[in-house]
């Protein structure tokens, strides 16, 4: 019943359309198809965006110096410090928070060993080791620093001050008497073990300076 009604409605519209009207309707539909195709082609062939360079330039890497060293490391301390600074201003506070990473190496420098530091005493090989110290005063990997938070404007001098503060904190936390003693004990163990591996039966490693 419903479908009969719909069919008769469509038939009445077609009957009312003249040839001219049908042509008009056809040309409008054709125009719509053409316009949509053109728009689709324009969308595909045209684009617009703003590009920003985020990469650094390729620059030479220069070797300033090459040095032969004889540093023996026995304790490695990996440290990270979260350091922040605040500047109070008229329009509000500025804040800079950075995370510094550093590796402190405790051991001795063989160049500091005294004459006859290693000698055969009857059947025992005796090693008089140089004092344990921080092997390198530069231990912060500043290029790995994480910029955690920044508000306001900051100068390079402010960042240097933060670096100095992180340096002091790492020194305080890592170069402790307890850590130096751990390094001393490990140094004796490792040196004795290495010399025994080389075929020396009895090996005794000690430090010139007594343990504090």
């Amino acid at each position: 019943m419903e479908s009969n009604k719909r069919r008769s409605f469509l038939r009445s519209i077609i009957n009312k359309l003249s040839l001219k009207g049908a042509l008009m309707l056809g040309s409008v539909l054709l125009l719509l198809v053409v316009v949509s195709l053109i728009l689709r082609w324009i969308d595909k062939s045209n684009s617009l965006y703003i590009e920003e360079n985020k990469r650094i330039d390729l620059t030479p890497t220069l070797i300033k110096s090459i040095e032969e060293i004889g540093e023996w490391e026995f304790l490695q301390l990996t440290d990270e410090e979260l350091v922040d600074t605040i500047k109070h201003g008229f329009f509000g506070d500025s804040r800079l928070v950075r995370i510094y990473y550093g590796t402190l190496r405790l051991g001795f420098n063989l160049h500091e060993a005294g004459p006859g530091w290693l000698k055969q005493d009857k059947d025992t090989l005796r090693l008089m080791l140089p004092p344990i110290r921080l092997l390198d005063k530069d231990f912060i990997d500043e290029a790995r620093t994480k910029a955690f938070y920044e508000s306001g404007s900051w100068t390079e001098a402010d960042k240097q001050a933060l670096y100095d503060r992180a340096y002091k904190l790492m020194m305080q936390r890592c170069v402790t008497t307890a850590n130096i003693q751990t390094a001393r004990r490990n140094a004796c163990l490792q040196m004795e073990s290495m010399m025994r591996s080389m075929g020396f039966g009895a090996v005794k490693a000690t430090f010139a300076q007594p343990e504090r």
């Binding site: 324009i42 062939s45 045209n46 617009l48 590009e51 920003e52 360079n53 990469r55 650094i56 330039d57 030479p60 890497t61 220069l62 070797i63 300033k64 110096s65 090459i66 032969e68 004889g70 540093e71 026995f74 304790l75 490695q76 410090e81 922040d84 600074t85 605040i86 500047k87 109070h88 201003g89 008229f90 329009f91 928070v97 950075r98 995370i99 550093g102 590796t103 000698k119 055969q120 090989l125 231990f139 990997d141 500043e142 290029a143 620093t145 994480k146 910029a147 920044e150 390079e156 402010d158 240097q160 001050a161 670096y163 904190l169 890592c174 025994r196 591996s197 080389m198 075929g199 020396f200």
Partner: protein
């Protein structure tokens, strides 16, 4: 005309107050004016102080003989200019936006060391025949022990139309520079120098222990190629990555 304007203004204000938004604006205005008064009374201070110290550290026992040290210098540069790019009817175009240039130069120093890891050294590495001793050492390794930014000589040129480089952007450039140094180190002779350095440390040590210099042989893995260097560079854990 003026009457109409006042009528609209009054009606808007009434509506705002009805919705209590007006009250919020009034409070905000009061706070802002009070903060302004405070600012006038107090002098602007530039004194900085630090808070929130935090520490996570790792202690590792080891036995490493550092035999060679390279001091490296690099100037990291970055040239940043905004460019409009795109294509029009399948024809690509690129147009630099005027007054959008920013440049920065960051001088950086790095310390790289070559070392021999003795932690796993054992009698398997030693061969003794009579008075002769032959020691086969593990492959030398390379590590970047420190990097330092020369803050006094960092130069920035920023057009007035652009914002300054942020700390995050500069840190990212520094990280890229660090990676470039690690990449470039494989083109140096650091590995060979580390091996030579190890021999120069161990031969006097064994001589003092009673061996004749001619009876000492220090050897390494023969098939070590320069292409192996990237695998011999210590990887650092990039936190948060």
């Amino acid at each position: 005309m003026q009457n109409n304007f006042f009528y609209y203004l009054c009606s808007i204000l009434t509506t705002l107050f009805m919705k209590r938004i007006g009250l919020l604006y009034m409070v905000l205005l009061l706070v802002f004016s009070l903060s302004g008064c405070k600012g006038k009374r107090e002098e602007q201070t530039q004194k900085a102080f630090d808070t929130i110290p935090m520490l996570v550290n790792e202690i590792q026992k080891c036995s490493r003989l550092y035999t060679v040290e390279y001091k490296i210098h690099k100037i990291i540069t970055h040239d940043d200019r905004k460019t409009i790019k795109g294509s029009l009817f399948n024809k690509a175009f690129s147009l630099d936006i005027p007054m959008s240039k920013r440049m920065v130069a960051i001088p950086m120093d790095a310390t790289i060391k070559g070392y021999i890891d003795f932690y796993s050294f054992s009698s398997k590495n030693v061969k003794r025949t009579g008075n002769k001793i032959e020691i086969t050492l593990p492959d030398p390794r390379i590590t970047m022990t420190a990097t330092k930014i020369d803050h006094n000589h960092v130069k920035q040129f920023v057009n007035f139309m652009r914002s300054d480089f942020t700390d995050a952007e500069l840190s990212d450039f520094e990280r890229q520079g660090r990676a470039q140094i690690i990449h470039d180190i494989s083109q140096t002779d650091i590995l060979e120098n580390a091996r030579l350095g190890a021999a120069k440390v161990l031969i006097p040590l064994l001589r003092q222990a009673g061996y004749n210099e001619k009876d000492i042989t220090i050897s390494f893995r023969n098939n070590l190629q320069s292409g192996d260097i990237p695998t011999l560079i210590d990887k650092t854990n990039e936190h948060g990555k």
